[in-house]
Symmetry: C2
Subunit: 318 residues, 2 copies
């Protein structure tokens, strides 16, 4: 299909080295020969073989991405991934996609298949012990995103506290008397507590909690309970759950935010498309991507360890 350097050399009667010089636009080649080779290359569609080049140079333009893309949050996933891809490509890198799998042998196969092709692997999911052990064995450098439990590797953490704290603070400033936390994730609680601690004790609203996993269905199912709780504001662990609640509210003609203010977490695109639009806390997508790129480009000796704040986005439900 495509010709090789060697073939061009034979065709032109010159050496591989000279052909290579021309093709890489290096100096010290007789203009006429340069011309000849250029023509030959064009006519025969010379396209360098990246596999060979990467092998020789021991470098690569590919970055593995290991994530679990669970069925429940594809919107969030794509939102982040899309930005990451754009960000990588702007520097000439391309993501290779793999799905995290609990099964060790499946995971090993992925890493084996990537060894020598990619240099870094961005990891956004998985079991700590397994991953650490695995990456020790494969010639791939992991960049862990949003993990608190891993050390001795590049680590980009997400600080959920800041955005949630700001979200709850606006509720308090708005004079809400009873704030309900619907969900059970520890990291969400820290943000709520931070907002309460920042408020003078005598001005603090009441605080309730309904523990639940953050699905759309749970949001719907718990809606009656939430509405009966007496809370005038509710923070959901996830936008999905908030959307479930809003779905129920719409069905039952409950006015949002008049009856109860609603804030979610994740900045799910669907939250922008409903009425009223969902207030939420967004991930630090851009800052994270910049950090990733910086690691890939600079290959720092020392492990990078940074934390990035989330951000409150006020829309119509609060």
């Amino acid at each position: 299909m495509s010709v090789t350097l060697k073939q061009l050399a034979e065709m032109s009667g010159l050496s591989i080295r000279t052909v290579n010089r021309v093709l890489k636009n290096q100096a010290h080649v007789h203009p006429e020969k340069r011309e000849l080779i250029m023509r030959l290359a064009r006519d025969h569609n010379y396209i360098p073989n990246m596999a060979a080049r990467n092998l020789r140079l021991n470098c690569s333009k590919f970055v593995g991405i290991l994530s679990n893309l669970d069925q429940h949050t594809p919107e969030i996933y794509i939102q982040k991934m899309q930005n990451l891809e754009i960000c990588l490509k702007s520097k000439g890198y391309y993501p290779i996609i793999g799905k995290y799998d609990m099964n060790q042998s499946v995971l090993e196969k992925i890493l084996a298949d990537w060894s020598g092709i990619a240099e870094f692997v961005i990891v956004t999911a998985g079991n700590k012990a397994l991953l650490c052990e695995l990456f020790q064995r494969y010639p791939l450098t992991p960049i862990y995103i949003d993990r608190d439990d891993i050390e001795d590797s590049h680590l980009l953490r997400i600080d959920r506290t800041t955005g949630i704290r700001d979200a709850i603070s606006t509720l308090i400033q708005d004079g809400k008397k009873c704030i309900l936390h619907c969900g059970q994730q520890e990291n969400r609680k820290y943000g709520i507590e931070a907002a309460f601690l920042a408020t003078p004790a005598n001005k603090r609203p009441e605080k309730l909690q309904i523990p639940a996993w953050g699905s759309f269905e749970n949001g719907r199912k718990l809606a009656p309970k939430i509405l009966k709780s007496g809370a005038d504001a509710v923070f959901f662990d996830t936008d999905r759950m908030a959307l479930g609640f809003l779905n129920y509210a719409a069905e039952h003609k409950i006015k949002i935010p008049e009856k109860i203010a609603v804030i979610g977490f994740d900045d799910d695109p669907a939250g922008r498309q409903i009425y009223p639009a969902l207030s939420t806390v967004a991930h630090p997508v851009d800052a994270l991507n910049q950090a990733i790129l910086s690691i890939i480009e600079n290959k720092p000796e020392k492990n990078v360890n940074m934390s990035f704040p989330t951000r409150f986005i006020r829309r119509q439900t609060s």
Copy 2:
């Protein structure tokens, strides 16, 4: 970092070939030596270099994906992509992601960077002439998805008519008297016409059209006009537009589907999360993926050219 075959050979005092035999589990190696090499390999973390292997074997486990992932339909994109990834990985292939770019030189860089790494590129977007010319020059085989304008390549088309025809047919069977098409895409019209043609002339409902681009905002904006049109059923070019309409309807307490039945197109995940859930027409994702995989695995000499039907999914809005 990782040892090479050669190093293992030196360490063991055996030849590369023998080491290679052991590592590939081939016969004809003395058990003791096999044992020794296995131990050495394990101890030194031998991981084969895929770049080298692929170069030697002139084959690759990577499949390029060139798509444009526009900002307006990330949900649909991810839905399809997710399935494709799972499907590819089940056979040991991994997608390499690239974003289609109008700019020829950007595109050339991508293809150049992939040459020799990937063998096939799945193309879901782009300008016909440009792509055809480009793929002629690069040692990459394109698999075009959902294009009617390309020949002489692998071509997997999507038949939008079938699903839309079925959707409209149910509306007619439900006794709708006036069906409105909100949108302007030609391929959508064929499906509507097919349903009308399949209906005895005296039983055909009235047919209206409001041309518009399929955005969420347009769905909202056109809602009053649609409601005043007298139609008792509306088909939108996209789920986004349908969602916009439903958003307006929810805000104004308009009963769906009692007042007007609504059907969208694309099977946007958001359509399942709203109340009432959106009836829609879904893409033939699975069949498409199987066809892609089949091409990649079998590398057929002849160009594959197939068409896949869309499918009506009835939910609550119709």
